[in-house]
Symmetry: C2
C-alpha cells in the first residue's frame, strides 16, 4: 500500500465557515440538519458549501462519534462458490435490505487467502464497522475469534461448530435433510445414496446426519460419496462414482441443488430415466431446481430471510437489545424429480 501524496486538499468545515462568515458550529448544525439555526445562516452556509465544494469527511466524523454507521458482511468461500452458491446473493440482498432501511451501509468483505483473513480481522477490529454478519465461517476461523475477543456485535449465518455464545441464525439442516430423504423413501426406493459435500461445515455435516437418520436400517456407508464443495461439477462426478459402486441405485439425495443438477446430467447421460429409474432430491430450492428437467424436488431454504434476520441480530446488539439465536423453518418442495 504505497501512495504518492498529491491529492488536492479538500475543503473542510472551516473553509465553509469562513466563506460563510460563520462558525464551525453553525456549519455543522446545518450540515446535520439540526435545530436552532436561522434561515439566513442556513442559506449562507449552503451557498458557501457549493462555493468551496465541501463534502463532509466521514473519517473525522466517525472518530469523534465513535461509530461508523457501517456493518461488515464477511464472506469466506472458496473461489467457485461465489458463483455457484445462489444462497450467498440472497443473504447479501436480505441483509442489505434491513440495514439500508436502518440507514446503515453494508460493506462486504471477501476472504480469499490467509492474507485477506488477517486484513479483514484488522478491519473489523479497527472501528471501521459497528458490527458484522459472518457468512460461512469454518471451525476455528480467525475472524470468528477476532469478533469474539473484541466484542464486536456480530451474527453468524449458519451455526459454526466450536464457537459458543455467538448469536446466529440458521436452518435445521439435519431435520430438513431427514424430511426430504423420507419423502424420497416414501416413493418406494430402497437403494438410496447421497452425494455429501462441505463436511468441514455445519451445513454439510448436518445434511449427512439427517440423511443417515432417515435411512435408518437401509443406510449403507458405501452409498455415500464426499466432496469438498457444493458444485455442479462434483454432483456430476459424485453420481458417476455412485453408479460405479452400485449400478442399480434407485435414489439419491444431493447435498444441494447445484449438486443435484450435476447428478441429473450424469444420470441422463447413462440413459437412466428420472424419476423413473432413479429418484433425485436436492437442497436449497435455488433457481437450479426449476431449471432441471424434470424439475427438482428439494428443500426450500429462506436465504433472504437468513440475511435479514442476521442483520437484525446485529442491529439488536448495537441497540443493547437481546439477540437470541434463531432457527428458521424449511419446507419440502415436491416436484418431478422423485
Amino acid at each position: 500500500m504505497e501512495s504518492t501524496r498529491t491529492r488536492i486538499r479538500r475543503a473542510t468545515i472551516n473553509d465553509v465557515a469562513s466563506a460563510a462568515g460563520l462558525s464551525r458550529g453553525t456549519v455543522s448544525r446545518v450540515v446535520n440538519g439540526e435545530r436552532y439555526v436561522s434561515e439566513d445562516a442556513k442559506l449562507a452556509v449552503e451557498e458557501a458549501i457549493l462555493k468551496v465544494g465541501y463534502v463532509r469527511n466521514s473519517v473525522a466524523r466517525n472518530l469523534v462519534r465513535q461509530q461508523s454507521g457501517a456493518i461488515g458482511l464477511i464472506i469466506h468461500e472458496p473461489h467457485s462458490l461465489l458463483f455457484e452458491d445462489p444462497n450467498i446473493g440472497s443473504i447479501l440482498l436480505g441483509a442489505n435490505a434491513v440495514l439500508s432501511a436502518a440507514d446503515y451501509q453494508l460493506v462486504t468483505l471477501i476472504i480469499d487467502s490467509a492474507r485477506d483473513s488477517r486484513r479483514v480481522a484488522d478491519y473489523l477490529q479497527g472501528g471501521l464497522v459497528d458490527g458484522a454478519v459472518i457468512v460461512s465461517a469454518r471451525e476455528s476461523d480467525p475472524i470468528a475469534l477476532a469478533v469474539k475477543n473484541l466484542g464486536v456485535p456480530a451474527a453468524f449465518v449458519g451455526h459454526p461448530p466450536g464457537i459458543p455464545d455467538i448469536p446466529y441464525v440458521a436452518i435445521d439442516n439435519a431435520a430438513a435433510a431427514e424430511a426430504i430423504t423420507s419423502h424420497l423413501l416414501g416413493t418406494g426406493r430402497t437403494r438410496v445414496g447421497m452425494i455429501a459435500c462441505a463436511l468441514d461445515r455445519d451445513s454439510g455435516q448436518d445434511r449427512l446426519a439427517g440423511f443417515k437418520a432417515a435411512m435408518g436400517e437401509l443406510f449403507d456407508p458405501e452409498l455415500v460419496v464426499e466432496y469438498p464443495l457444493y458444485t455442479y461439477g462434483f454432483g456430476l462426478e459424485g453420481m458417476q462414482e455412485l453408479l460405479r459402486r452400485r449400478p442399480d441405485l434407485d435414489g439419491v439425495f444431493a447435498a444441494s441443488d447445484a449438486v443435484a443438477a450435476g447428478a441429473m446430467t450424469a444420470l441422463q447421460e447413462t440413459g437412466r430415466q428420472v424419476p423413473g429409474d432413479v429418484g433425485i432430491v436436492g437442497f436449497d430450492d435455488s433457481s437450479w431446481a426449476l431449471r432441471c428437467r424434470p424439475q427438482l424436488s428439494t428443500v426450500r431454504q429462506p436465504a433472504d430471510l437468513l440475511g435479514e434476520r442476521a442483520a437484525e441480530l446485529v442491529l439488536a446488539q448495537i441497540r443493547g437489545l437481546p439477540s437470541p439465536a434463531e432457527v428458521l423453518e424449511t419446507s419440502v418442495m415436491w416436484r418431478g424429480s422423485a
Copy 2:
C-alpha cells in the same frame, strides 16, 4: 441508524504507553514496526499491548494519514443478476487478488435502491476509501457523477456511455458479437435470430450492434427479441417468442450463456435438435456453457482479468501514474451447440 452508547471503552495507545512506562511515540513505533526502538522497549510494549488488550483504532489512524487503505467496489445490479451473472464473481475475485497483493482492503458496496445509491455516494466521497472500481454503471449514474466531481481515483468495468474521461477496462462487445455471429452463419444458417438483453447498458447495445453488422443483408428486425436482463428465464421466454414468430428459425445468438441455456431448454422442449435443427451461440464462456448439452459455442470473456486490470488502474491513479483505458481481447470458443 440509532445507537445505545454502551460499548465498553477500548484501550488506546495511551493506555499501552502508561502500562509499559513509555510514551505514545514509542508505542506507535513498535506497532508500526519502525526502526529506532530498543529491544527492551519493544518487549515492554508488546507485553503491555497484551495486558491491556490494545488494538489499533484505524479510524484515528486514517484521519491523520489522510488515507484509508481501502478500495470500494460498487455493484449496481438488479436483484437477480447477482445470482445469474457469473462475471460479477470473477470480477470481484480478480480485483481482490491485485488489491490484496498491494495490501489494500477491497470493500464491496451494493446498490439496490435509490437510497443505497445516495449512501454509497456519501461513502465514496467521505474519505472512507482511497479509490473505487465501478461495475456496471448505467447512463447518468449518480455514483459516476459523484466520483467525477470529487476526483476520487476510479475505474469502470465496462464503458459507460456518456461519461467521458474516466479510465475504464472493457471488452469490445460489438466485435465479439460480430465474430461469433459470423461463425454461426458460417455453418450455413440463414434464418438467424437474436435474444437481446440489457439494452440500457453498453454491453447489451454493443452485442446487438455486432449481431446486426454480421447479419448484413440477412438481418430481419422481426427476429430480434429484447429483454431487460441476462437471465435463463428470459432466454426461455425469448426463444419461445422467436419460435412463434418464425418456426423455421435455424440459428440464434443469445446475449449471454445463461440466456442461451434458457433458449436451449425451450428448443429441446419443442423437440428440436441442437445443433441439427437450430444452432445456438452464447456469450461469456461461463460455467453455463459447459453445463449445456450439447456444450455451448460462446465468446470467451476474461472476467477475472477485467477485475484485475480495473484494480490496477485505480492503484495507478493513487500512485500518480498514467491510467489509460484498456480493451481486453475476447475469443470464440467453438463447441457443440452450433
